[in-house]
């Protein structure tokens, strides 16, 4: 088995454990390369099927190509898709830069808080109806007890402290010091009511593994990842006010892999184009403790 096969096999195992143990399970899908690989692995694990909803937290500030891609894949792959948004924050203009909030507050409201409400079912959820080809409000939003997330350990300091199955309390908070042990492919699957779980099947993958796998499996990705002639591309996707492209000539998946292999970016953090990381002094940790992905 090659290294990608090993990574795939562990991730598939984790996905199947998640599906076997949690009734109200969902998967966060940002349309980025990582969570799209996760979606592909789900199809692998369940032999072409996606047996739980994909959940997108839509800030309404996403780069338009991302939304087009989301809707196209949802249709083509017949995906169960749920979209959650913090409409209160949008209506009250608690946003950045066009509203009355700073970057971190904006992130906290449009992502962390939106996610929390979407998971608990308090917030409005839109569900993609494949028959009518439209988003409709979920009349009975049930709380998710577990969500699968595409976090990788190599992305950023605090993420390397995650478990594959990581409990969060009622406030969605992550208690790093109190994490249960995790060994021998046995995960925490017994819970007190009120706890919910983040499941991380991609923890062992690196940025380059993700691209190698995209190449190997020929997984469709958002066009923003590639240089279309202006000498720049996105390395990490997010909201347009806070996400910037990097200088790169890479036009294809193969060229991106080549670029990463030659170490062109070896001294630059993957998320360096994400402004919110810099505003938060503890790296992403403060945001993550409160439930940021």
């Amino acid at each position: 088995m090659g290294h990608l096969d090993e990574l795939e096999s562990r991730s598939v195992f984790i996905l199947r454990e998640a599906y076997a143990n949690f009734k109200n399970l969902g998967m966060l899908w940002s349309m980025g390369k990582d969570s799209t690989v996760l979606l592909w692995l789900t199809k692998k694990a369940f032999f072409g099927h996606v047996p739980f909803p994909m959940v997108h937290i839509d800030t309404h500030y996403k780069i338009p190509e991302m939304i087009e891609y989301r809707d196209r894949l949802a249709r083509e792959w017949n995906l169960p898709l749920v979209v959650g948004t913090n409409f209160d924050a949008l209506n009250e203009k608690h946003t950045f830069p066009d509203g009355n909030a700073d970057r971190i507050t904006c992130c906290g409201l449009l992502k962390t808080e939106a996610l929390r409400r979407t998971l608990t079912g308090e917030g409005k959820r839109m569900v993609f109806n494949h028959d009518t080809n439209q988003y409709e409000e979920d009349p009975h939003p049930e709380p998710f007890t577990a969500v699968i997330v595409g976090a990788r350990a190599d992305e950023e300091g605090s993420r390397s402290k995650e478990r594959y199955f990581s409990p969060r309390d009622k406030q969605n908070e992550w208690n790093i010091g109190e994490q249960p042990p995790e060994f021998w492919n046995q995960y925490k699957t017994d819970f007190k009511a009120g706890t919910n779980v983040r499941i991380h099947p991609l923890l062992d993958w690196t940025e380059i593994n993700i691209w190698e796998y995209i190449a190997q499996e020929d997984i469709p990705t958002v066009s923003l990842y590639y240089n279309h002639g202006d000498g720049q591309r996105y390395r990490s996707l997010g909201c347009y006010p806070c996400t910037f492209p990097v200088q790169s000539e890479a036009r294809t998946v193969e060229e991106i892999i080549e670029e990463l292999r030659t170490g062109r970016f070896s001294n630059v953090a993957e998320r360096s184009g994400r402004a919110q990381d810099k505003d938060d002094e503890g790296g992403l940790e403060t945001l993550r403790r409160e439930g940021y992905m």
Binding site: F46, F47, F183
Partner: protein, 613 residues
């Protein structure tokens, strides 16, 4: 954006495909993080400006710079000066990629060390030359052995603090080697190092002219990649059986990760502990060409020739290979990380592969004090951080292997209060009164003459799942009247149901036992009833039986002979005088009859045995 690569030595002709997980363990403050930091710095792995950033931060806080701060980069950790979780670090040598898990040495964080070590393929154990072997030097060594890590290198660190004394180095090596010998663990080598000064970490030191062995980096490169265990018997704990009919897919796919051996289409499989048998029809894939075979390490799914009832929790093995053992008593070595002690009087959940059983400690054989590796015999509970050897009694038969034959299927974890607080490896499957029965059942199921009508067809035909309903309660509470009323109601609802009274059985099938002494033959009597019930269930019926105050020991015989998922127990009467955990309690007496019958019907519906009418 400045993205120029200043570190030209990184452009080596590394086989960047190979990866290895390494864990660093050892007593607190023995210098694990420092060695790692040094390893990163001297291999040119650190991101641009990182060292300078940490150095600047140390200068501002008037602290001496330590490489450990590179890893303890989180705010609250810097205050604690210890690494609080298995933070991973990626770096590479000329040979391969390494993922280093910086396992902390502080005693309170052993659970994180276990987490880190179980993901690793090799371990680096760090001992302080100045302080010598400490409690956690031994404890971690013991845990590495139990976690199954066989590739170990031992660093004697802080050699600069003992003047690079060869004697000191040798005496620590000798003492630690004695300890590892007892466990049967052979380290690759012992290396004298100084993380702070960089001696023998990446570069050979001039301070230790008496040492000619590996540096830390070259020792890491000596570790071998674990090969998948393809030459061992096939084992696959069943994770799930998928049938996505909702999506128009009628394949019934048995899925899981192969933990040892190989599998080919056409292979005959036996599922344990049930003993059910079938043949592999296809190995299923998605977005890949069909497969003819699979090996250890792969996540797979296959369809079977014949539809047999299997579910999550069983272990698939090949019929022509050594089978796993099936046991209800096991002897095991274990470690306990729970805040509350592991008690003999309490019931816990054991998870092995995808199986879950309830378990209770029957005997504590010995508790090993990791701090000096002596044996404590007088304790009757296993405390926080103890390692011990005990025998467990299990609620249900468990399929397993022994730790000296197949590692994966010999490992289990212990769940208490929702958390995994312990782990163990099985040394022995211990015989008990159920062992003979278990073997009988496995042989029965293997030899079972298969009908062309499958269980599923029968269930579909009768619109019901075969079930044994045991009605039990105190004498004269009206069990029999209730049973026959229930039979009548279900029959009138169109169900295939039969009430078999114990008397009917005792004077017929078991007449020989009745003639002899019935009490002495009780076990045999229950065995025959259970085997008879098995026949009715195979025929697709809902069978009702009654028993006076059914005991857990009786139910255990039923659970061994019949799939426990097919048994529903109903306690009748207000006063409870049984040790079984019944599925439902109803009231006896004519006046409660209708309500009690309705409650049982509801239970059958809730459990998906019959559909609501």
């Amino acid at each position: 954006m400045a993205v120029e690569n200043l570190k030209s030595e990184k452009k080596t002709d590394v086989d960047i495909q190979e990866k290895m997980n390494i864990v660093f363990v050892g007593h607190v403050d023995h210098g694990k993080s420092t060695v790692i930091g040094r390893l990163l710095a001297d291999t040119g792995t650190l991101p641009e400006g990182k060292i300078e950033q940490v150095q600047e931060s140390c200068r501002r806080n008037s602290k001496p710079f330590e490489y450990a701060y590179l890893i303890d980069a989180l705010k609250d950790e810097r205050a604690q000066s210890i690494t609080i979780d298995s933070a991973r670090v990626f770096f590479k040598s000329k040979k391969r990629h390494y993922i280093i898990i910086d396992a902390p040495g502080h005693i309170e964080f052993i659970k994180n060390m276990v987490t880190g070590a179980s993901r690793a393929e090799a371990a680096v154990l760090v001992i302080d030359a100045h302080e010598g072997i400490q409690e956690n030097s031994r404890r971690h060594g013991y845990l590495l052995w139990m976690l199954g890590l066989k590739q170990i290198v031992v660093l004697v660190n802080k050699m600069d603090m003992v003047g690079y004394d060869q004697e000191k180095f040798n005496s620590i090596c000798d003492e630690y080697n004695l300890f590892l010998d007892e466990l049967g663990v052979k380290p690759l080598c012992y290396i004298p190092v100084s993380g702070r000064m960089g001696d023998n970490v990446v570069n050979r030191s001039e301070n230790t002219p008496w040492y000619a062995g590996y540096t830390v980096l070259s020792a890491l490169d000596q570790f071998k990649k674990e090969k998948p265990e393809t030459d061992k018997p096939f084992r696959m704990p069943v994770q799930d059986v998928y049938k996505f009919t909702l999506y128009g897919d009628n394949r019934r796919i048995v899925s899981g990760n192969v933990v040892s051996g190989t599998l080919k289409t056409g292979d005959e499989l036996v599922f344990y502990p049930s003993g059910k048998k079938s043949r592999v029809k296809t190995i299923e894939t998605f977005s890949a060409p069909p497969k003819e075979s699979a090996v250890s390490g792969e996540a797979i799914g296959f369809t079977l020739d014949e539809q047999i009832y299997i579910r999550r929790g069983q272990i698939a093995a090949r019929a022509n290979e050594t089978p796993p053992k099936v046991a209800t008593r096991i002897r095991a070595s274990l470690f306990w990380l729970g805040k509350h002690p592991l008690l003999t009087k309490k019931q816990y959940t054991i998870k092995l592969g995808s199986a879950r059983v309830k378990a209770q400690i029957e005997t504590i054989h010995r508790i090993i004090d990791a701090s000096d590796y002596s044996t404590i015999n007088e304790k009757n509970q296993i405390d926080h951080h103890d390692v011990a050897e005990c025998t467990f009694r299990l609620s249900h038969p468990l399929a397993l292997d022994l730790s000296d034959t197949l590692a994966d299927t010999s490992r289990f974890v212990i769940v208490d209060d929702y958390e995994i607080w312990g782990g163990g490896i099985i040394l022995q499957a211990v015989d008990d009164e159920e062992t003979e029965l278990l073997e009988e059942v496995i042989t029965r199921d293997r030899k079972w003459i298969k009908s062309e009508v499958s269980m599923y067809q029968r269930a579909e035909h009768y619109s019901q799942r075969p079930t044994l309903l045991i009605i039990t309660g105190e004498k004269s509470v009206g069990r029999k009247r209730f049973a026959s009323r229930l039979e009548k109601t279900l029959l009138e609802n169109g169900r295939m149901v039969y009430y078999l009274g114990i008397g009917s059985f005792l004077y017929g099938v078991s007449a020989d036992l009745k003639r002899q002494s019935p009490d002495d033959n009780w076990h045999e009597h229950v065995r025959r009833m259970a085997q008879a019930a098995h026949l009715f269930l195979d025929a697709g019926l809902i069978l009702i039986m009654t028993a006076v105050e059914l005991k857990q020991s009786d139910l255990k015989i039923f659970n061994t002979i019949i799939n426990p998922n097919y048994i529903e127990t109903i306690w009748i009467g207000e006063r409870v005088t049984t040790d079984i955990s019944y599925d439902l309690q109803v009231l006896g007496g004519e006046e409660n009859m209708d309500r009690s019958v309705a409650l049982v019907k509801q239970l059958l519906q809730d459990h998906g045995i019959i559909f609501s009418l």
